[in-house]
Each structure stands twice: as structure tokens, then as C-alpha cells.
């Protein structure tokens, strides 16, 4: 264990987040969630339970949902990360973002980024889920405010928006990258 007298060794970490390369020098034990929030100032990723239960900190690693509080920043080297900030803007929302806004799938909003990322990845795999499948897809995320009803509606609505719009954007999940290089 690194004691007070032994300075913790630092590591240079370069990652691509939302298509932008970032480099920061951090201790080996810097959590990816803290790295995103405090080193890269991407505060859209929220930290809720801090041990992988609530899903608020979920980001996409090479398109797959991962809990950033359970990863170290150094483990994200050479991976493509997508946070909620990379899924759209207020003026150009992604389909899941638009659906959550329309369906009131949020109240305090703190769990929302984790739901948006999780569902974005899910709809890439299953673009037309049933209500039952939608519930299943997000059963690993916690929300303390809504009672979940509008979140299920949001998933179904997002699938509709996705289906009706040719978004013209490349798919978030790069099938080759995922097959060849499993995230940690």
C-alpha cells in the first residue's frame, strides 16, 4: 500500500472520449469515473453508489455499457469511450435523449446519464424491444425518483424515434472492435 511517505506513481493516460483525444497524468488507482469528472471535466457522468450497483456512472466502452466506477482510468487506455455528452446536444438530441425528455423519464436527473448510455447501447443490439424486454434491459440501473414507469415508456419511445429517423450517424458499437478487443 502506498503510504503517506511514498508518493504514488503517476501514469500518463490517453483516451478517446466522444471522439476527442484527452491526455492526463493520474495515479494508477484513479477510477475512470473520477478521471472523467475531475480530470477531463466531463461531469455528465454521475457517481451514485460508487460500487457498481446503481448504474448512474455507466458509459460506453467501445460501444458496450460499462460502470466507470468499477474501472481504473489506466484500463481505458486505447479504448473509445462515449459518455452522455457524446450522445447528443440540447439542439440535436439522440433518440434516447429525446425520448427521456418527452416521456418525463426523469425527475432529479441524477441517474439519467446512466440510463441514456445503457439504453443507447441496448437499442443497437435490439432495436425493437417489447415492454418486457425494455424492463429487462434496464433492470440493472436504479432510479430513486420516478418509479420507473416513464423510463420503460422512454425505452419504447426511443426505439420508435430511432426507427422513424434515418439518423445518418455511424453506429456507436463498432462490431469489429468489440469482437476483437473485449473491454476490461
Amino acid at each position: 500500500m502506498t503510504g503517506p511517505d511514498v508518493p504514488e506513481p503517476l501514469h500518463e493516460v490517453t483516451v478517446s472520449v466522444n471522439g476527442v483525444r484527452h491526455t492526463a497524468t493520474v495515479p494508477a488507482r484513479r477510477l475512470l469515473s473520477d478521471f472523467l469528472r475531475h480530470d477531463l471535466a466531463l461531469t455528465g457522468t454521475h457517481v451514485g453508489c460508487e460500487h457498481g450497483v446503481c448504474g448512474a456512472c455507466t458509459i460506453l466502452v467501445d460501444g458496450a455499457p460499462m460502470r466507470s466506477c468499477l474501472m481504473f482510468a489506466v484500463q481505458a487506455r486505447a479504448h473509445e469511450l462515449t459518455t452522455v455528452e457524446g450522445l447528443g446536444t440540447i439542439d440535436a438530441m439522440g433518440p434516447v435523449q429525446q425520448a427521456f425528455s418527452e416521456c418525463h423519464g426523469l425527475q432529479c436527473g441524477f441517474c439519467t446519464p446512466g440510463f441514456i448510455t445503457t439504453i443507447t447501447a441496448y437499442l443497437e443490439e435490439n432495436p425493437d424491444p417489447t415492454a418486457e424486454e425494455a424492463r429487462d434491459a434496464i433492470s440493472g440501473n436504479l432510479c430513486r425518483c420516478t418509479g420507473y414507469q416513464n423510463i420503460v415508456k422512454s425505452v419504447l419511445r426511443a426505439a420508435e424515434i430511432r426507427a422513424s429517423a434515418d439518423l445518418g450517424a455511424p453506429p456507436l458499437i463498432d462490431a469489429d472492435a468489440r469482437a476483437g478487443e473485449a473491454p476490461p
Binding site: 471535466a41 461531469t43 425528455s101 436527473g109 446519464p113 430513486r144 420516478t146 420507473y148
Partner: protein, 815 residues
């Protein structure tokens, strides 16, 4: 209709619109307090030194070793408090204690260049403790007679005569657990020092004015040197009403001593082990019914598990007493309340604020007694509803009592209750290892702060020369949609489109002396204030418009961004009128104020009309219980709830659904456990993470969930005819608990009464099933005589005597 409740044509209130911050939330742009850290230069991080004892005297503290840790800047101790060493308003919560009062109590705080440096510094602080005996549950405190604060008593009628005349008398006890708020955003404060030593604290607080008060008294400075701002909270649920103050004060001391911004964000474990929760209660009761099952007398003693200090325990207890009747008329009542002092976190406000606890006692009584009376629980409940003209035990007439029956009948109809009950009977007859049951429970919940003085609010509305509008009010946003509703109120009152109005964050230098955003009253109070401010401005603009239009001022209409005369004709765009008014030197901004009229309350005798109105609702829940394990499914829930004329239906339905699920969590899943052993870890919270404290997730949601708002529900006494929504629907979840009890009982012979622990976890349900199967006795209810008299306070009653009432009395006495 009253001036307050009347809606103009085409109002923006009542429209179905998304949350005002929805766009920010879904794109990750919404800022919470801790998001400001990375946007602030030179921030220091605070980390607590938490005591590893439930009760101990601090005999020595050496902070020097911490200062040797690289990156540690300062250690804050009692010696650093420039003003009063007190984090509360009752002077019983030392910010830095000499005596550790609960496991995890912070005895010092370390400031570091990084959070990691502060953490290592906190580990290096040397503290010696002299452990003391600790009481860690309410029964231990009752046995030791360790109580704190007021011992209120609420009485009506003749309790002895009531029991003497009753045909059936039952007595019992009931103890039930509290609840962790588990807002997804933990407590956070970021303090900095402005010029001249003035303090600016950004805090995740439901009560910025009180955070300001406490920071000021800890710092020993007047309130005008402290500004508190709350951008928004990631959930509050009452947990950020009183608890943020001490954390804000620590950050303020740190910022003042170092000259640098100080961030104090609790990690999840710290939040769970240091901040207060919903009060668990213990109840002793006896109840009398007449031959037809009508309640004749209720005698109960409620003991709240207050934790180590009073915090909000007295008002929580008062609300519990005021809600023990729930929806039911009881002519003879005596309810005593007291607050146990235990070596646990200081329990605090939590959605419902004692109301759920009082009502749970009554619903538990009815659920246990119905089989003993030979009555269906649904029939017993319906038979005892208040009727118009009857009053609560504290003397308030129950206005619109018929709405309970309306809700009940609607749920019965839309929920197809009769048909499903027949189906359930068939199912149970043909399934030996599982049972289904359906229960219906009502809610009646009083709206307003019990304490009359808190029922006031302010707002500040600015109309700029270009016609754009900026509003600020005293309420805080924690997800409930208050800001959205306030924008709707302002747009309605000014007659402008919603897009014309923007809302600025809640700050104590914009609106002073605010009440907590609590008691479900945020929209009632602040909405009244916003409306008042807007109407002042409209009245001034009316004069300007009348001279342009050539009509009487009362004939000027403001609607959807245009100003016209009542008969039509010339149309003045809102922006043009505002601009003209500016050049006529008309004041285009206003401070609004609102106070709820018609309230009175004497807490010393627990009597008066403390509530502006009651909110009503009814829920029907159907469950299926597995007889081998006690595991259960929530098959269907039907709700009809009264929110008056909804200000914002999408938000209100969201509140009803969320509150119900949170209530179901409290009653069925969320199981707080403290170490009650005699090991050194005695008093340690064992459920201090999301992995051990079970929160409702998708898996526990009702398979079918129908929520409807009661129609034709105009409320005269509140802004635009609406009613509060935040807390009341939480208590609709009693239906789930009672359905579980009935399903468990269905494993035994017909008409058996079973006990059910709270929370009714699958394990608790399993034991209820086992009890029903034994069928040897009717649970733990004593029957007959005039019942077992609950503990009566041996000492003199200590009535609650709040500061504001003292102030009123002093003023009337001319002191």
C-alpha cells in the same frame, strides 16, 4: 372560485410539459453542486475522521500526524469554530463533539489538496476514546427511559367511556423500521470566501435559508454575510432539509481559515453512516370497536427512534400524531408521543415526515383486527371513513371528506376489484403452494407545515425591457418539478408563453427567510408568491395598456404574449407594452409574498387547524406470495389520487408513481440493520451500501400499474386550484403491505389475524405465512376487557414549544 385558485383562459398551468431541465439532464449538461468543483480554481477537499464507537468520550486527539501527510493543508477541530459549535437549531448537535454519539460520528475534518491526501490525513489523526454504554434500538431506549425533547399528547372525547362502551377491544404492539433516503446525489457543499470575508456556499440543500442561518451562527457572523445557493439536487426526499447545514458549516470554516474554496462531498458510505434517516417507531395501542365494526376509541403511545439528537424529531412526531387517524373517524382518542434517544444517526425528515408512521400504525391495527371482527378488511376500512362535518382528533374539520369515497369507488370500478377478488378466490382454492390477495387502502394527508409560521414564501420576478422574464423563488428543485411548475405559474399570471420566462437558481440573496422545500408545500407556497409578484407587475402594466387601448384597466387582457381589451380590437405585443412601460418609468420587477391564510395551531395542546386542506388518494394492490419462501410478486396496482386541478399533469403522475414505489420500498424491501451485538462494532450501520440495502428496482415494479388523477378536484385554497403532491402518494403503498398480510393469512384457516413485520421482506412474509399455518392463535393481539393501557408519561408532559410560537407569544405580550 377564489382569486388564488381561479385560472384565466388558456392557462399555461395544467399543460402537459416536460421537466424544465429535461434537455440539460439527458445531455449531461445539468449542473449539481459537485460538478462545480472542477469548474472552481484551487479547491481543497474535506474528509471526515469518523469515530469507531457508538458512544464514547474523546480523551485525546492529536492532529499533528495528519499535517505530516503530503497534501494535507489543515485539520479542522472544535478549536477552529469561531462562533457556536452547533450544527442544528436545537443546540444539541455539536459540530465537533466531545462525546461520540453514534458509530461514524465525525470528530474532525481534514482538508487536503486532493481527496486522497485528505483521506490519508484523516487516517493519520490520532484519537483516543473511552467507550460508553450504547443504546442502539428503540426498545433499549424505552427500557432505559432515555428520551429527548417534547412529549406531546393529542386527546379528544372520553377515552375511558369509549373503551367501556366498546363491543370489541383489542390491544397490541408494533415496531417498524425507518428508511434510508438514498438520494442518488450524496450531500455536497462547496464554500468560498468573497471579498470582505463574506461566505458563499453552494449546497445540495432543501433549505438554503436554514443552511445560511447555521453557517452564520457557526461562523459567528450575521446572516447577511452568508449567501447560500442551490442549483438543484439529485434527490432530496427530506434528507437534505436539515442535514446539509453542518456540512456546509464545515466547508465554510475551511474556506475562511484557508482562503481557498473547500469542497465537502460525502462518499456513499459516509452519507449512509453519517446522515439521518426516516424515523423507525414503536407503538403500543388499544382500540375499541362497536358491534358493527365502527371505531369507538383509540389509545396509543408512539415512540420515535430519534437517534442521537433532536434534529426534526419533534415536528416529525407531531405529524405522526396528527395522522394516526388516517382516513377514519374515531370519536375518543388519546395518543401520546415521545422520542427515544439512541446512539444512531440523528433521524430526520423523510417524505411524509411522520405522517406515514402515524398512518401505518392505524392501517396495521385495522389489518390485524379485521379478521377478529369477522369483517373483510376492505369493508372495515370503508365503513370507518370520515364523513363531511366530522373533525380530526386535533379539531380540524375534514374538508372534502367525500373525495375519499369518490377515489375508493373509482378504484373499485376501474380496478375491477370485485371481479379480481373472485378470480383470486378461485386461484387460491386451486394452488396449494401460493396465495394471492388484493387490498385497498386510503390516504388522507394534511397539507401545510404543522407550524403555522413556516407557511410563507417569497419570489422575485424581473421583467426586462425586451419583455423577457426572469423569476426566482424560495423553493429548491430536487427533481419534483417545482421549477417547472413555477415557470408555468409565472407564464399564466403574466399571460405570456412559457418560453418568455426563465428561472434562476435558488439563492438566499434573492429571496430571504425562506422555508424548507418540504411538507409537499413547495408549489403551494412559492406558487402563491410567484403569482403575487407577477400580478403586481401586470397591475402596473394594465394602466399603461389601458391608456393605449382606450379602455378601463379592468378590461385589459393579458394572454399568450399579447395584450388586448376584453372586446378584442387592437393587439399590443407583450414586449412592446413592456418597453413602453419602461419609458414611462413603470417598475417592471416585483417581490412577491404569500402566506397561507386560515391556519392556526397550538402545539402545546395539539389542537387547531394546522392544514390548509387534505390530499386524498386510494390504492388497490394485488400480490402473489410463494408459500415455500415468502417471496412475492406485485401483480397489479390501481391508484386514483387527488392533486386538485393539476398544475402539470405529467409531473404529478410522475410524483405519484415515484412516491408509491418509494413507499413500497420502505414497507417491503428496504431493511436498515444496525449491529446490535455487544462486539466493538455495536451500533455500526451494517447496511451501508447499495449492495446490502435493497432499493426498489425494475424487478419489484407492479406488473400492471394504473395511475389516474381525480377529476373535478378543484381546490379553492391553493394556487390555480391545485393540490400538493410530493408526499401523500407514498402512503398509498400501505395497500401492498396489507395485501401481503392477507395473502400470508390465506395460507391459514379463514378469518385468522396475522402479524407482519415492517419492512415486509420475503423473510418477514415467510414468518407471517408460518404463523398463519400454525393457526394456533390470532397473532399477537390481546382481546377483551378495556384493553392494555399503553405507557403513559410518568413525568409532566413536555409540550412542543417551537421558537416561532414563543416569538409570537412574546410579541403579543409586548415583550
Amino acid at each position: 372560485m377564489s382569486a388564488l385558485s381561479d385560472r384565466p383562459a388558456n392557462p399555461v398551468v395544467g399543460q402537459t410539459i416536460p421537466h424544465e431541465s429535461a434537455g440539460l439532464h439527458v445531455t449531461g449538461q445539468a449542473l449539481y453542486t459537485d460538478d462545480l468543483t472542477v469548474r472552481t480554481h484551487g479547491v481543497l477537499h474535506a474528509h471526515p475522521v469518523q469515530a469507531p464507537h457508538a458512544h464514547a468520550r474523546i480523551t485525546r486527539m492529536d492532529t499533528e500526524p495528519a499535517l505530516a501527510v503530503e497534501g494535507v493543508v489543515r485539520v479542522l477541530t472544535k478549536a477552529d469554530v469561531p462562533g457556536v459549535n452547533d450544527a442544528g437549531v436545537k443546540h444539541d448537535e455539536p459540530l465537533f463533539p466531545d462525546e461520540v454519539m453514534f458509530y461514524g460520528h465525525a470528530v474532525a475534518w481534514v482538508l487536503g489538496e486532493t481527496l486522497e491526501a485528505a483521506r490519508l490525513g484523516a487516517l493519520a489523526v490520532e484519537v483516543d476514546y473511552d467507550p460508553l454504554p450504547a443504546l442502539v434500538n428503540v426498545k433499549e431506549a424505552i427500557a432505559a427511559e432515555r428520551f429527548q425533547g417534547a412529549t406531546p399528547r393529542m386527546e379528544r372525547g372520553d377515552i375511558d367511556a369509549g373503551f367501556a362502551a366498546a363491543a370489541h377491544v383489542f390491544s397490541g404492539e408494533f415496531e417498524f423500521a425507518g428508511q434510508e433516503h438514498f438520494y442518488l446525489e450524496t450531500h455536497c457543499s462547496l464554500a468560498m470566501v468573497d471579498e470582505s470575508g463574506q461566505i458563499f456556499v453552494q449546497s445540495s440543500t432543501q433549505h438554503p435559508s436554514e443552511t445560511q442561518d447555521i453557517v452564520a451562527h457557526v461562523m459567528g457572523i450575521p446572516s447577511h454575510e452568508v449567501t447560500v445557493q442551490c442549483l438543484r439536487m439529485g434527490g432530496g426526499f427530506g434528507g437534505k432539509e436539515m442535514q446539509p447545514h453542518g456540512f456546509a458549516a464545515i466547508a465554510a470554516i475551511g474556506a475562511t481559515l484557508t482562503g481557498r474554496p473547500v469542497r465537502l462531498r460525502l462518499n456513499r458510505t459516509q452519507d449512509l453512516t453519517m446522515s439521518g434517516k426516516r424515523h423507525g417507531f414503536h407503538a403500543q395501542w388499544r382500540v375499541g370497536f362497536n358491534a358493527s365494526g365502527r371505531l369507538q376509541a383509540l389509545d396509543a403511545t408512539l415512540t420515535a427512534d430519534g437517534g442521537w439528537s433532536l434534529d426534526l424529531s419533534e415536528p416529525v412526531l407531531a405529524r405522526a400524531l396528527c395522522h394516526i387517524d388516517n382516513a377514519y373517524w374515531v370519536p375518543n382518542v388519546r395518543v401520546n408521543g415521545r422520542i427515544a434517544q439512541t446512539n444512531k444517526t440523528s433521524q430526520t425528515a423523510f417524505r411524509g415526515f411522520g405522517g406515514p408512521q402515524g398512518m401505518l400504525v392505524m392501517e396495521d391495527i385495522l389489518g390485524r383486527c379485521a379478521p377478529l371482527l369477522g369483517l373483510d378488511a376492505m369493508e372495515l376500512r370503508r365503513r370507518n371513513f370520515y364523513r363531511e362535518g366530522q373533525s380530526t382528533p386535533y379539531g380540524q374539520p375534514v374538508k372534502d371528506a367525500d373525495r375519499m369515497g369518490t377515489c375508493w369507488d373509482q378504484v373499485t370500478k376501474t380496478g375491477e376489484v370485485e371481479r379480481r377478488r373472485n378470480q383470486i378466490a378461485t386461484f387460491n382454492a386451486s394452488h396449494p403452494t401460493s396465495r394471492r390477495a388484493l387490498a385497498m387502502t386510503p390516504v388522507k394527508f394534511g397539507i401545510s407545515f404543522n407550524l403555522t409560521a413556516f407557511n410563507q414564501a417569497g419570489a422575485l420576478v424581473h421583467v426586462y425591457k425586451d419583455g423577457s422574464v426572469l423569476i426566482t423563488h424560495g423553493g429548491t428543485e430536487m427533481g419534483q418539478g417545482l421549477h417547472t411548475k413555477m415557470l408555468q405559474v409565472a407564464a399564466t399570471a403574466l399571460g405570456v408563453p412559457l418560453s418568455t420566462v426563465r428561472l434562476a437558481p435558488t439563492r438566499t440573496d434573492k429571496v430571504p427567510n425562506t422555508s424548507a422545500t418540504a411538507a409537499s408545500s413547495g408549489a403551494d407556497l412559492n406558487g402563491g408568491a410567484v403569482k403575487n409578484a407577477c400580478e403586481q407587475i401586470v397591475d402596473r402594466l394594465r394602466g399603461v395598456a389601458s391608456s393605449i387601448l382606450g379602455v378601463h384597466p379592468s378590461d385589459v387582457r393579458f394572454s399568450d404574449g399579447t395584450v388586448t381589451s376584453v372586446g378584442g380590437g387592437q393587439v399590443i405585443p407583450w414586449g412592446d407594452l413592456v418597453n413602453k412601460a419602461y419609458f414611462q418609468r413603470i417598475q417592471l420587477w416585483a417581490a412577491g409574498f404569500y402566506r397561507t391564510e386560515g391556519l392556526h395551531w397550538d402545539s402545546s395542546v395539539m389542537h387547531g387547524s394546522p392544514f390548509k386542506y387534505f390530499s386524498y388518494g386510494v390504492a388497490a394492490a394485488e400480490v402473489e406470495v410463494d408459500g415455500f419462501t415468502g417471496a412475492y410478486r406485485l401483480r397489479r396496482v390501481d391508484i386514483v389520487h387527488d392533486v386538485g386541478d393539476s398544475l402539470s399533469p405529467l409531473l404529478d403522475i410522475g410524483q405519484v408513481e415515484g412516491a408509491f414505489v418509494q413507499g413500497a420500498g420502505w414497507l417491503t424491501l428496504e431493511d436498515l440493520r444496525w449491529d446490535e451485538s455487544d462486539r466493538p462494532s455495536r451500533g455500526r450501520l451494517a447496511t451501508q451500501a447499495a449492495s446490502t440495502y435493497k432499493l426498489p428496482s425494475f424487478s419489484e415494479m407492479p406488473e400492471v400499474f394504473n395511475v389516474a388523477l381525480l377529476e373535478r378536484a378543484h381546490e379553492e385554497g391553493a394556487v390555480y386550484g391545485s393540490k400538493a403532491v410530493g408526499e401523500p402518494p407514498l402512503m398509498l403503498a400501505f395497500s401492498v403491505r396489507e395485501a401481503l398480510r392477507q395473502a400470508a393469512a390465506a395460507f391459514g384457516p379463514a378469518g385468522i389475524s396475522v402479524d407482519l413485520a415492517s419492512p415486509a421482506t420475503p423473510e418477514a412474509v415467510y414468518w407471517a405465512v408460518a404463523e398463519a399455518r400454525r393457526a394456533s392463535e390470532h397473532g399477537h393481539v390481546t382481546e377483551g376487557g378495556t384493553g392494555v393501557v399503553p405507557d403513559q408519561s410518568t413525568a409532566d408532559l413536555r409540550p412542543a414549544h417551537p421558537r416561532s410560537e414563543q416569538a409570537t407569544n412574546a410579541a403579543t405580550a409586548g415583550v
